[in-house]
């Protein structure tokens, strides 16, 4: 619906159209600010996480080469633990952000969209670093003639499968990050007892991603017990995407009408 401006006849936005445009721009600003905060704050500390992961990997390689026999991947463990780091960041960050976001005129909806966008960016970038490190390690080991076996069954065999490592680690990072956020907001809105009671629900996407992506002690054993250990990589990844979608749905349920607590 448009008004026509008098003599010129050029369409002029109605008040309703103008309002819609202003609201849409405000929503985009809120989403962007939330995503930037999540990504910026995560990487601010994440740089140290990766520096420590590299240092630990270097120590493992040095210790093994001194012993004369390098037969364990040095970076699989540290790089694969990025998801746990992001789980913690997912718990810590939203509590500081959600209050300022709503107090500055944002909505829960723009907070949710920004958080999901931020989780996607963080997931992809952390997955990329993990895949690059795994690939670089494989390349180095091959050049030095070292042979290693991945300690636990996973969808990929080693770091040479760059694309698959990237996808698996990205999905893990997104799911863990969003589940951490869900847990934090669960405690924020329901308090200690109910927040704890809701923990298993918030961890369902994590459990599902571990199951379908067959990672570590838990995921691999669980998949074998359910007869899913022979699942193809693509089916596993599809299950991982379902886990991420479930994490978004759960976060939405916790965020959509969360009240801001009174100031202590």
């Amino acid at each position: 619906m448009t008004d026509l401006a008098g003599a010129g006849g050029a369409p002029r936005p109605t008040t309703e159209q103008a309002r819609r445009a202003v609201v849409a721009a405000h929503h985009r600003r809120g989403v962007r600010a939330t995503a930037e905060y999540m990504v910026g704050a995560t990487w601010y500390i994440g740089v140290w996480f990766w520096a420590i992961a590299l240092a630990v990997g270097g120590i493992i390689v040095a210790a093994q080469s001194r012993a004369g026999d390098v037969d364990v991947s040095a970076l699989n463990g540290p790089a694969g633990s990025a998801k746990f780091f992001l789980f913690v960041m997912g718990i810590v960050l939203p509590l500081t952000l959600v209050v300022v976001h709503l107090a500055s005129g944002g909505t829960r909806r723009s907070f949710l969209h920004g958080t999901v966008a931020g989780a996607a960016v963080v997931g992809v970038t952390f997955g990329l670093v993990a895949a690059l490190l795994a690939w670089a390690e494989r390349w180095l080991y091959d050049r030095l003639g070292w042979q290693t076996a991945w300690p636990h069954g996973q969808l990929y065999d080693d770091g040479s499968q760059f694309g698959l490592v990237l996808l698996v680690q990205t999905v893990f990072c997104v799911v863990y990050y969003l589940s951490g956020t869900t847990i934090a907001l669960g405690y924020y809105r329901t308090g200690g007892w109910l927040g704890t009671a809701l923990l298993p629900l918030a961890l369902v996407p994590v459990a599902l991603s571990e199951l379908v992506l067959q990672s570590g002690f838990f995921g691999e054993a669980f998949a074998r017990a359910l007869g899913l250990d022979g699942t193809s990589a693509w089916l596993g990844l599809a299950g991982g995407v379902v886990a991420a979608a479930l994490a978004v749905v759960l976060l939405h349920r916790f965020v959509r009408d969360v009240p801001l607590r009174a100031v202590d």
Partner: protein
């Protein structure tokens, strides 16, 4: 990095606000809700004082207006006259409503300038020059983290955010706690000056009634989850009368009326009485050599909230 979406430059008209039979229970089995059927109207384009004792429901009422939480029952509306809407998850309403709570809703662990940059980006009518001038006047160091600031400086940061947001509905909830007297008066002066230049609706919740009552155009008194009165400040002041003059003459006019306060210095007395004087009574008092004045809002507030407390005790 792409450019941020442009901020609109025209301000909507001042917002009004209404609560209609609003109930808020923090727990389902709460016997005494934070608000129990509260109704009030904040007129657009006024400075309204929201007064109440601790736990009266002021903060809850203000949180509802800013969309910080939902009412358990009843209706909450904000917006320009004739176009009021529920603010909860309503982007148009909340982007034009700024509630500043005690402590300021800031990032405590980051430098204050980061919080200010966030508000500047989020608030469509933000005035950076006003913010810079006020920060300078209130001596707030933006390089400091709010968690490292004194309570007064942190409050001042919140006050700056509230004023510089230029929101059509700007709400200050005990925002000046911890601020020293010069800072508080600088804040009041800045508030009045900016309000005159950029008319909007301002709601002030405060325990420092004597200090802020000169700012009020309307007053709302909340007590135990209910609204005791909501009316223009002149009507509030006319609910009582202050008499000054020779003690014996003053006492003649007390005559069974409820005394809100009484002071005596030598042979001169001042009493504040509850209940309006009609024209004949005023003439008689003036003829008797007494000076008549309006009742202080604080005296009336103390009287009203004490009275409801006594009523409830009696009902028990």
């Amino acid at each position: 990095m792409t450019a941020r979406p442009a901020q609109p430059t025209t301000a909507p008209p001042p917002f009004g606000a209404e609560l209609r039979d609003v109930v808020v229970r923090y727990r389902r089995r709460d016997e005494a809700p934070a608000l129990g059927g509260a109704s009030l109207t904040v007129r657009p384009g006024t400075i309204t004082g929201l007064l109440g004792r601790n736990g009266a429901g002021k903060t809850t009422a203000l949180a509802l207006l800013a969309g910080f939480r939902r009412a358990s029952a009843g209706q909450v509306l904000v917006g320009p006259a004739g176009a009021m809407e529920d603010p909860f998850e309503n982007p148009w309403a909340v982007m034009h409503t700024q509630l500043v709570r005690e402590g300021g809703d800031v990032w405590g662990d980051d430098r204050a300038k980061d919080t200010l940059a966030h508000y500047a980006d989020a608030r469509p009518l933000w005035d950076g020059d006003l913010a810079a001038g006020l920060l300078d006047e209130l001596e707030v160091d933006l390089r400091k983290k709010p968690d490292e600031m004194s309570r007064g400086k942190r409050s001042a940061l919140g006050a700056v955010i509230g004023l510089a947001s230029r929101a059509p509905l700007t709400i200050f909830d005990e925002v000046y706690l911890g601020m020293d007297a010069p800072s508080r008066y600088a804040f009041y002066d800045a508030l009045v000056a900016d309000y005159a230049e950029h008319p909007r609706t301002i709601v002030l919740s405060s325990h420092l009634i004597d200090e802020v009552e000169r700012l009020f155009e309307d007053v709302v008194v909340v007590d135990r989850g209910r609204v005791l009165l909501a009316e223009p400040v002149e009507d509030v002041r006319a609910r009582g009368v202050s008499l000054v003059g020779p003690a014996d003459v003053v006492e003649q006019f007390v005559d069974g009326r409820r005394v809100l306060s009484r002071q005596r210095l030598g042979g001169t007395a001042q009493v504040t009485l509850f209940g309006a004087f009609d024209a004949a009574q005023r003439r008689r008092a003036t003829d008797a050599g007494l000076e008549l004045g309006a009742v202080a809002v604080q005296d009336l507030f103390v009287h009203l909230t004490r009275e409801t407390g006594r009523d409830r005790e009696a009902q028990r």
